[in-house]
């Protein structure tokens, strides 16, 4: 098991290097730092001096890969690639346009993101699995049919509609919760209720349908027929056998997103004014803060790869048939 985890971790390194090279190529080769400077400073009437100053302030005035002018190790370290891309591996993301340290910003903004994402994830999983189990229990009845119809309709609604509609209805018309913002301590709860509920509701459609097919596949297995033949009640079959076995694909399919919860949700956070990583990313995109976007791309892929490794480990934990050497 340990050897397997170590091997998977080692396998992650070339992938991270690939991600790093890809983002580097996207940000520095497709466009030169001159282009970026011109974009930031305004395209027309910008002096070469201003561009040089902009580049020097951000350390973009060095060569891309090889700095022949610098001596010793500096040939490789005094370059844009080393300073902007390679240093990400040790958690140094540089500074944002407003001069703040990105790594520090990420640490403080992680908390609000998690405060929204974790309850949404846990509650959403519980609601959708229960709903799917209900539909599978009443399979081939009108309840199942209309449940599926509801799911298809719900997954056809834009995520923006859930947020805008929910905010309008519950915050503006009924005035049950504040429209947006984030507080301290217990006060935070008031701000969290609506985004979490909207997050859960908007996920119901597609997840329920997916889980329902998993349950139905499981119901047609031989061991279920055996259980019924033994004379077990339908509820005992559903909870004792079908649910337990169907949880294997559901859990392993879900584990991969757990690390990504750190990243927060782009839409929810920006609509509800939550100072998390999602709104940080959105602000960076609209302000064209390339350093922040680059950092978020890197962190996102690290978390995704962690999720993949966790998925593989969770297979061995929940499914005794699988053993990794």
């Amino acid at each position: 098991m340990l050897a397997y985890v170590v091997r998977r971790l080692l396998y992650a390194i070339p992938i991270l290097i690939g991600v790093n090279l890809l983002t580097f190529a996207l940000f520095f080769v497709v466009n030169t730092p001159e282009d970026m400077a011109r974009m930031q400073l305004g395209v027309k009437r910008v002096t070469p001096e201003a561009i040089e100053k902009w580049k020097a302030e951000r350390g973009y005035d060095k060569p891309l890969f090889v700095n022949a002018a610098a001596g010793g190790v500096g040939v490789l370290t005094e370059t844009i690639f080393f300073e902007k891309s390679a240093r990400m591996f040790v958690g140094d993301f540089g500074r944002a346009e407003d001069g703040r340290d990105i790594a520090r910003e990420i640490r403080t903004r992680m908390v609000p993101s998690l405060a929204i994402a974790v309850p949404t994830f846990a509650l959403g999983l519980f609601v959708t699995v229960s709903f799917a189990l209900l539909l599978a229990f009443f399979r081939a009845t009108p309840l199942d049919f209309w449940g599926v119809v509801l799911c298809v309709a719900m997954m056809s609604i834009s995520g923006l509609f859930y947020i805008i509609g929910g905010q309008y209805l519950f915050a503006k018309i009924f005035r049950l919760v504040p429209i947006s913002g984030f507080g301290e301590g217990l006060d935070t709860l008031r701000f969290l209720v609506l985004p979490v509920l909207i997050g859960v509701v908007s996920g119901i459609g597609s997840s329920t349908r997916w889980y329902r097919t998993i349950f139905l596949e499981e119901i047609n297995r031989d061991y279920v027929r055996t259980a019924r033949a033994k004379g077990l009640a339908e509820t005992a079959v559903m909870f004792g056998h079908v649910l337990r076995n169907a949880l294997i694909p559901i859990l392993t399919g879900v584990v991969v997103v757990i690390p990504l919860l750190f990243m927060g949700s782009l839409l929810t956070e920006s609509f509800f004014g939550i100072p998390g990583l999602g709104s940080y990313t959105i602000d960076a995109i609209s302000a064209q803060d390339f350093a922040v976007v680059r950092a978020m791309v890197f962190i996102g892929s690290v978390l995704y790869i962690v999720g993949l490794i966790l998925t593989d480990i969770s297979y061995t934990l929940v499914d005794p048939r699988i053993r990794f050497g």
């Binding site: 991600v19 890809l22 940000f27 056809s156 609604i157």
Partner: protein, 469 residues
């Protein structure tokens, strides 16, 4: 007028051509033809297909672009406007040109906001008063007799509905005649057979869907000649016009993207699965790297970089429409480049299985070349996965466009799309009284389009997936 072929038009018409060739080809493949016949039997699937056909018609009309000729003196060389219009614009000229000052509610005769206006009193003097001004075009034919608006609207809607009902009955009769001809029945027997849902093709679903489309379209047309059916937006543009224009953007995003996705996914997926070895390792590495970057962030990074390219090379684009069009295409390419990985992985897994089957091994033993095996033996047996993925992706892409446009990395802000409509309208919910029509119209049309796509996707998946049969 001078025809203009935008790049996205080219891709759309290429897609239409590909669709026609694909339909012709699959009609001659017994297995595919049988699967499509199963789709034709599905009621929700066929109703959805009818709706999608209506959307496609709007989108195609909107893809025939031209530059209108400017009025010129006789003997002068003809000059053309800078503005690029489409056949749809020409059809909707009254909607496009009848612009109000600012917001007005659906079917309103007066504007949304009060203004200082001159009122003529009964004794003939002019008085300045703050009131809701009359709209320039909404209900203009009523004159001063605004109280008649309700009756006028009801009358127009009813006569439009009556007209739609006549057309619909004629279409039903045509369908019944076709059923009668096929089954060698009398007209009455065919009519009953059709409505019992006893036909091999789900005629009843198609006709019900057609009836709904005709009713809505007729009411919209009947009222749009006189009123703003869905109201007007901040700059006074008709919301119905914007919604209809958004359809093309959504279709381009949903379809042209797959034009990028399919070749990449098919080629790389099959090659990885069939050849294994270093090709497999390399391709797997490639898609794991692409996959591990969260989608929105990768798209954001790519779109930001594309913006830099566009902004630093203004000389590439002759008109604003051209720039917006190329930006839309670039967005499709970026979406395609980031979303081929899922399908490629599916195809690789399937190709791994197929290469071990006897018929492939027999072909190898006969000395058939690898390329021929890929093209003649593997590809046709993977087509069902490709078709399922194609229809399943469409709805996701349409929804993604709205989100991306909201984040600011979607289509050009000057291009009318569901995303830009929602983005412009969402702040209006804060007004008092609420301006809801723009937002609701965009969401409703998007919902119908995506729901139809989802229903068709389900029907196609049920018909093509061998595990379902």
């Amino acid at each position: 007028m001078q025809p203009v072929l935008l790049w996205s038009d080219l891709f759309i018409w290429l897609l239409v051509a590909a669709g026609v060739v694909g339909a012709w080809w699959s009609a001659r493949q017994p297995l595919l033809a049988a699967a499509w016949a199963r789709v034709g039997r599905s009621r929700p699937g066929m109703a959805a297909a009818t709706l999608l056909a209506a959307f496609a018609l709007i989108g195609l009309l909107d893809s025939l672009h031209y530059r209108p000729q400017l009025p010129a003196q006789p003997g002068e060389k003809p000059a053309y406007a800078v503005e690029v219009l489409s056949a749809l614009d020409a059809l909707l000229t009254p909607l496009r040109t009848r612009v109000e000052k600012t917001y007005s509610a659906p079917l309103a005769t007066r504007a949304y906001a009060k203004e200082m206006i001159e009122l003529r009193q009964t004794d003939g003097t002019l008085v300045n008063q703050r009131d809701f001004p009359r709209l320039r075009h909404g209900g203009a034919s009523l004159g001063d007799d605004e109280a008649r608006a309700g009756a006028d609207i009801a009358g127009r809607a009813l006569s439009a509905l009556a007209f739609a009902a006549l057309v619909w009955l004629a279409l039903c009769a045509l369908a019944a005649r076709r059923v009668a001809g096929r089954a060698a029945l009398g007209f009455g027997a065919a009519w009953r057979k059709l409505w019992r849902g006893d036909t091999a093709f789900a005629w009843d679903a198609v006709l019900v869907a057609l009836g709904l489309i005709l009713a809505v379209a007729a009411v919209f047309v009947g009222l749009a000649v006189e009123y703003h059916v869905l109201g007007t937006d901040k700059v006074g543009q008709d919301v119905l016009y914007q919604v209809l224009k958004s359809v093309r953007t959504a279709l381009v995003i949903g379809l042209v993207t797959t034009l990028v996705t399919l070749p990449l996914a098919i080629f790389l997926g099959i090659v990885a699965g069939y050849f294994r070895g270093w090709a497999d390792d390399l391709i797997q590495y490639l898609y794991t790297v692409l996959n591990s970057i969260p989608g929105v962030l990768l798209i954001a990074a790519a779109v930001l970089m594309m913006q830099v390219v566009i902004d630093t090379h203004p000389q590439w684009f002759a008109t604003a429409a051209e720039r917006a069009d190329l930006r839309l295409l670039a967005l499709c390419f970026i979406l395609g480049l980031t979303s081929w990985t899922g399908l490629a992985r599916l195809l690789r897994g399937e190709a791994l299985k197929l290469r071990e089957l006897e018929y492939v091994q027999a072909a190898q033993a006969f000395g058939v070349s690898d390329l021929r095996i890929l093209g003649r033996h593997l590809l046709p047996n993977l087509m069902h996965i490709v078709i399922i993925a194609l229809v399943m992706d469409f709805s996701g892409l349409v929804l993604a466009e709205a989100v991306l446009s909201y984040v600011g990395i979607g289509v050009d802000p000057t291009m009318i799309s569901f995303g830009t409509m929602i983005n412009n309208a969402r702040m209006e919910l804060g007004r008092e009284p609420v301006v809801w029509w723009s937002l609701l119209a965009a969401f409703a049309f998007m919902f119908v389009l995506v729901l139809a796509a989802n229903l068709l996707a389900d029907a196609v998946r049920d018909a093509f997936d061998p595990r379902m049969a």
